[in-house]
Each structure stands twice: as structure tokens, then as C-alpha cells.
């Protein structure tokens, strides 16, 4: 099977063509389990050189830590860099493994947003990082328009760290409920046991109304909203939530 022959997993003659990871590498040796990986240093990923040529100013730093290449990118250009990594035929980072953030215990250090990308055809792995300085707005561009898989990963990151992903179509809380108002649990200033006492948390849970578990959008299905009691409708339209 040659590159570009298959469309949607089907060859031109109609036979099935599986997408094979590592297919762009040709007959090079099969990958092996890494051994004796050094802590720092080593050869960076093959994508770094073309990336530096393409985005000379946007690439701020390249580290190789434990054999993995980390690129620190300008926050305003990160979407362009990822778009290029995804689209460029010599890179083809078509798989988004993870989107997450890191906050250090030293609160002077910037917050990091981390993308883990894989190129299945070239069997490459790269880590893209954006540093959000203290005091700056916690906002980075969403990559949802490139990878549909970013949907929940970005929502979870927003839920846990409060980082806004500009351009995400539906940036709501995911693991915590929508009325949760204690803040962002994975931030270092959030106490391990939560902000409220157990009795207060229980009181809030019992005070919550069942209709608050539906979004207004969901209640618009089948005009369920119109059938609610008047006081529930009023609360939902004013955005007032119980249990807060």
C-alpha cells in the first residue's frame, strides 16, 4: 500500500486498507524498548529542526528529558504550531494523546499547559508546552478544531485548573458538577480535603434540587422546561442555583 492511496480505509479498487502505524517509515527497523535513557540530553525528535525553521520565534526552548522531547512554545503561536504538526506531510502528528496542565509547588513558577502528541505514521512522540506566567490570563487556544478528541480533555483541564481554552465549543465543567463553586481542585492553593467541611458539603448536597442536574439546554428537549413548576423555571432562567 502506498501513501495516499487509501481513503477512509478503502483502497481505490474497493478492497480494505488498514491504516498502519509506522507506515511512513518504510522498511526501517522495528522500534525497541528504550534502555539506559539519560536524564538530560540526547538527540531531540526529528521534528524539531523543521519546526525551528518554520517557527523561528515561536519555539522558545527545546528540552530532552528522559528521552522525550519537550518544546516550549509561545502561547500565541501554539495553535499554529500544532496545526502545522498535524497537517504537514513530513510530520503528521495525527493523534492527540493528552492535554493537561502542571502547577508547581513553588507558586512563583509559571503554570504549564501540556499537549502530548503522537505521529502514528512516523512513530514519533512530542510534548508541547506553554508557560502561563503568574498574573497572566489563564487562556490558551483550543485544539478542538484539529483533534476532536480534545473535547473532554480540555474540559477536564478547565474543570481541574480553570484554564480557558479559547475556541472550545462547549467549555463546561466535566467531572465536577456544573454548580460546583469551590474553585479548581488540582490547583495547589486548593486544600486536599476541599474548602468546606464535611457537614457543609452534605448540607449543600441535600439542598440541591434535582432539576439543577439538567442544563437548560437539556430541558429544552421535548419542552420539558415548560412543564416545570413556576419557581423552578424562575430559578433556571435567572441562573440562580440552589446549594451554593
Amino acid at each position: 500500500m502506498t501513501e495516499g492511496d487509501a481513503v477512509n480505509g478503502v483502497n481505490r479498487d474497493g478492497s480494505f486498507a488498514p491504516v498502519i502505524a509506522g507506515s511512513a517509515l518504510g522498511a526501517t527497523a522495528a522500534p525497541a524498548t528504550p534502555r539506559n535513557v539519560p536524564n538530560r540530553g540526547g538527540a531531540p525528535n526529528e521534528s524539531i529542526e523543521p519546526m525551528r525553521q518554520q517557527f523561528a520565534t515561536a519555539v522558545r526552548r527545546v528540552d530532552v528529558v528522559w528521552g522525550e522531547t519537550t518544546v516550549v512554545v509561545d502561547p500565541t503561536r501554539v495553535h499554529d504550531v500544532i496545526r502545522w504538526l498535524h497537517d504537514d506531510p513530513s510530520q503528521r502528528y495525527d493523534y492527540l494523546s493528552d492535554v493537561t496542565a502542571v502547577e508547581f509547588r513553588d507558586l512563583e513558577q509559571p503554570l504549564e499547559v501540556v499537549w502530548h502528541l503522537r505521529s502514528l505514521p512516523y512513530r514519533r512522540f512530542i510534548r508541547i508546552k506553554v508557560l502561563l506566567e503568574r498574573g497572566a490570563a489563564l487562556e490558551v487556544p483550543s485544539v478542538w478544531d484539529i483533534y476532536k478528541g480534545a473535547d473532554w480533555l480540555e474540559r477536564e483541564c478547565y474543570d481541574m485548573f480553570g484554564i480557558k481554552f479559547a475556541g472550545h465549543p462547549d467549555l463546561r465543567r466535566l467531572l465536577m458538577w456544573e454548580q460546583y463553586n469551590e474553585g479548581f481542585p488540582l490547583r495547589k492553593d486548593f486544600p486536599l480535603r476541599g474548602r468546606f467541611s464535611r457537614s457543609e458539603q452534605l448540607r449543600q448536597a441535600l439542598a440541591a434540587n434535582p432539576e439543577a442536574r439538567y442544563s437548560k439546554e437539556e430541558l429544552s428537549i421535548a419542552d420539558a422546561f415548560e412543564d416545570l413548576p413556576a419557581d423552578m423555571r424562575r430559578r433556571l432562567t435567572t441562573g440562580e442555583r440552589t446549594g451554593e
Binding site: 477512509n8 488498514p18 522500534p31 524498548t33 493528552d98 508547581f104 480533555l153 466535566l174 430541558l219
Partner: protein, 437 residues
């Protein structure tokens, strides 16, 4: 002419007719004078329900959602128009708790996220921590971990198979699958003393070496298990009901599957040959001879076929691992992470210091970060760990495969029938402990 509808209650009889000789319990049209109109008379205009959509709340306590998953569905008749999933009911903040625990203390938490794959999670976490510590594990430990990974793949797929059969209406394979699962759990019990929450690994080695009689039991299992897989194969693979309820549902094209970040059997059923064991190998998986099954249609049936074949391939890997299992130490000889033997800790000064430092302070890796991914039964399970040089990680991130797989469920169910939602949801093989963490 104004008509009213009412139902006439009549005594039950076997003829199906009431005392007046009319069919029972039919709405009768009555005019203003109370006279019953004939059945041919118009009953008024039926309200047109075709345009109305219905709101259905599936879960979070419905057994067919495989855990506390809640799907809010908008139905047009029986067809799903829109699906809005809600997760997070099991959220317990594993990642937050991990920031307050030493590396070896996190291993019991990894048992509890994807609780059908506990040994595999333990191995994945230990691999990540060892990368941070810069440790290369021993030969024997590598093979033992492969055995642990493949055994946990088998139990996870068996639970998936059994519960999916129940969802779709086949009961017998459930019992056969759980019988075999019990055998694996007995082996794990022999090995580490626990069945579900194994905590099998330690940073730099294993919690225990395999006991006497383990290899015999394992080789008996390797011989007997494929026969059970064949038997289940015969019962359901060509079963008309099974095929009818799974073929053509929840189809994902290869490009879509990659773009949505699907992994494991989900992406392979769509015809993408991506397996972390082959493409980004760990634990010397490149030296084992096994095949990666790939589907062609990307529907529920292909996911089933891929998992069935993975059961057989796991048995092949187990067989090879048993044959090559070397003698030698299980744990690395590194006093930074492995406790000295108890007898030495109480007699030898240096060992006592290492013991004290490890117990009181915990092992400290150098600063750095790593993302270690393994092929869990659900897909690419990644642990991203960041260390600032202290004994506790700054960040311990779990990349849960079934979380990303589940995020594609609106794309898969929309346009299908309500009853197919159950089959599609079952085919994703979700574990809510892993999704909510």
C-alpha cells in the same frame, strides 16, 4: 360535532367482546346527547406526535451503563437525535491525592482507577516511576510484568465479554467467561495475596516473586483457556441475534477514530493498526511474537471480534513468557528504592540507614518529567509524572483510555435506536473508576 372520548370498563371475557358485542376497552366516541357513535365514526383528530422529541435520562444507576454513567438522550420516536453524556459521579481526586503520596504509596491508588486491570496499572505506574528514578529493571522482573499485563488483559476482556453478552441478551458466555476469570484471580491470589486490588509492583521490582506451583497453574491455564474462547466463539460469533444486534452500529472510520483519540480495540476495530506494544514498545514486547488484530468496519461487531482475538494473542504471549522466564533477582539492587532485607536492616548499619531514609523520607527521583504509555485492555493508558526532586510527584496525571473513548459516544450513538445505545456503550468497554478517577 363535538365528541368526547372515554373508555368503557367491562367484565373480562374470553371472546374479546363486551356485553354489547363490541370489542373490549376501546375508546368510544360519545356525542353530546350521550349516544355512542359507531366505530366507523371519526374519533376526532389524533395529535400529530411525529415532530415531538422526547427527553430520556439513561443512568446513572442503570446497570447497562456499566457504572455511574448518565446519558441524557433526545429521542425522535426511538431514534437518538442528540446525546449529552454526564460523567464524574465517581470522581475522587486520585491525581490530587497522588501529589500528597510517595511513589510507592500511589501504587494502591492505581489499583482502584481501572479496577478490572489492576496489575496492568501497577506495571504502568512502576514503569513511569522507574523512568523518573532512572532505573532499569531486572530480566526476571520484565518477564513477570509481561505475565501480569497479559493476565490483566485477559480478565478485563472477559468481564467485558460477559457483561456485554448480558446487555445484548446472551447469558451463558457470561458464566463461562467468569469461570475463567476466577482461575486468573486464583493465580493472582497465589502470587500477591489479593485478587482485585493487587498492588503487584514496587518501584524497581515486584511486591513478590511468583510462588511455587504458579508456573504449572499458569501453563495449565494457557492450555485450557483457548478452548473456552473457541467455545464462546461458537456460541455467539455466528449467532443471528448477536450479529443482528451488533453489525453496523456505532461505526467510526479510521480517520475519525484517530482524530477522536480512540485507542485500543476501539481504534483497531476501525482498521488502524496502532498498538502501543508494537509501536512504542515497553517491557521488551518487540521480542514477543504476537499479532495485532485489526477490524474492517469499525462497528460493535468488529470490536467484539478484535477483543476475542486479543484474548488468543494474550495467551500466546503468556506461553512465550513462561518459556523464557529467567532465574535471578526480581528487584533491582538499588538501595535508593528497594528496602534492604529485614535481617540486614537490624544488623548492618548501612542497611539500617537506607531502611530509615526510605521509610521516613521516601525515595527521591531527580527533577524531570515523563509520559509513559502502556497498552491497557481499554487502550493507551498513559501516566504523566512531573517531579521537582522531592519524594512526592508534583503532578501525577492519568491518561485514561476509556475516558477518551467514551467522549466519542455522541458521535457514535446519534442516529441509532435507543436499544442500540446499550450495545454501543458496551462496546466501548468503559470503567467509570478510570473515567472519573
Amino acid at each position: 360535532m363535538a365528541t368526547t372520548k372515554r373508555t368503557v370498563e367491562v367484565e373480562l371475557s374470553t371472546t374479546g367482546l363486551d356485553a354489547q358485542g363490541r370489542p373490549q376497552r376501546v375508546p368510544l366516541a360519545v356525542d353530546e346527547g350521550g349516544n355512542v357513535l359507531t366505530m366507523e365514526a371519526p374519533l376526532g383528530i389524533e395529535p400529530d406526535l411525529s415532530g415531538e422529541h422526547m427527553l430520556i435520562n439513561l443512568g446513572p444507576q442503570h446497570p447497562a451503563t456499566h457504572g455511574v454513567l448518565r446519558l441524557v438522550l433526545e429521542l425522535d420516536g426511538e431514534t437518538v437525535v442528540r446525546c449529552i453524556p454526564h460523567v464524574g459521579y465517581l470522581h475522587c481526586g486520585f491525581e490530587k491525592i497522588g501529589e500528597y503520596r510517595q511513589y510507592n504509596q500511589i501504587i494502591p491508588w492505581t489499583d482502584r482507577e481501572d479496577y478490572l486491570n489492576s496489575p496492568g496499572n501497577n506495571v504502568a505506574f512502576a514503569l513511569g516511576a522507574e523512568r523518573l528514578f532512572g532505573i532499569d529493571i531486572t530480566e526476571r522482573c520484565t518477564v513477570l510484568r509481561v505475565i501480569a499485563c497479559e493476565l490483566s488483559r485477559i480478565i478485563s476482556h472477559l468481564v467485558w465479554l460477559g457483561t456485554t453478552c448480558i446487555d445484548i441478551g446472551a447469558f451463558t458466555p457470561f458464566l463461562w467467561a467468569f469461570q475463567q476469570r476466577e482461575e486468573v484471580y486464583e493465580m493472582l491470589e497465589m502470587w500477591i495475596g489479593a485478587r482485585l486490588t493487587t498492588s503487584l509492583t514496587r518501584v524497581g521490582g515486584m511486591g513478590a516473586d511468583i510462588p511455587d506451583g504458579f508456573t504449572e497453574k499458569l501453563s495449565a491455564f494457557v492450555r485450557g483457556f483457548p478452548k473456552v474462547v473457541d467455545e464462546i466463539d461458537r456460541v455467539i460469533t455466528r449467532n443471528g441475534i448477536w450479529v443482528g444486534r451488533t453489525v453496523g452500529l456505532g461505526v467510526m472510520s479510521p480517520e475519525e477514530a484517530v482524530n477522536y483519540g480512540l485507542s485500543g480495540p476501539m481504534v483497531r476495530a476501525s482498521g488502524v493498526a496502532y498498538d502501543v506494544r508494537k509501536d512504542f514498545p515497553y517491557l521488551d514486547y518487540e521480542t514477543y511474537d504476537f499479532d495485532v488484530p485489526v477490524g474492517t468496519n469499525g462497528d460493535v461487531y468488529d470490536r467484539f471480534l478484535v477483543r476475542m482475538e486479543e484474548l488468543r494473542q494474550s495467551t500466546r504471549i503468556l506461553d512465550q513468557a513462561l518459556k523464557r522466564l529467567p532465574d535471578g533477582p526480581v528487584n533491582v539492587d538499588d538501595h535508593r528504592v528497594i528496602l534492604p532485607p529485614k535481617s540486614k536492616a537490624t544488623s548492618d548499619m548501612e542497611s539500617m540507614i537506607h531502611h530509615f531514609k526510605q521509610v521516613m523520607e521516601g525515595p527521591r527521583p531527580s527533577t524531570g518529567e515523563c509520559y509513559v504509555a502502556v497498552e491497557s485492555p481499554k487502550g493507551e493508558k498513559g501516566y504523566y509524572m512531573v517531579s521537582d526532586g522531592s519524594s512526592k510527584p508534583v503532578r501525577w496525571r492519568i491518561r485514561p483510555p476509556s475516558f477518551v473513548n467514551l467522549s466519542a459516544i455522541p458521535r457514535m450513538v446519534e442516529g441509532h435506536l435507543l436499544s442500540d445505545v446499550i450495545a454501543i456503550n458496551a462496546s466501548i468497554d468503559i470503567v467509570m473508576g478510570e473515567i472519573d478517577r
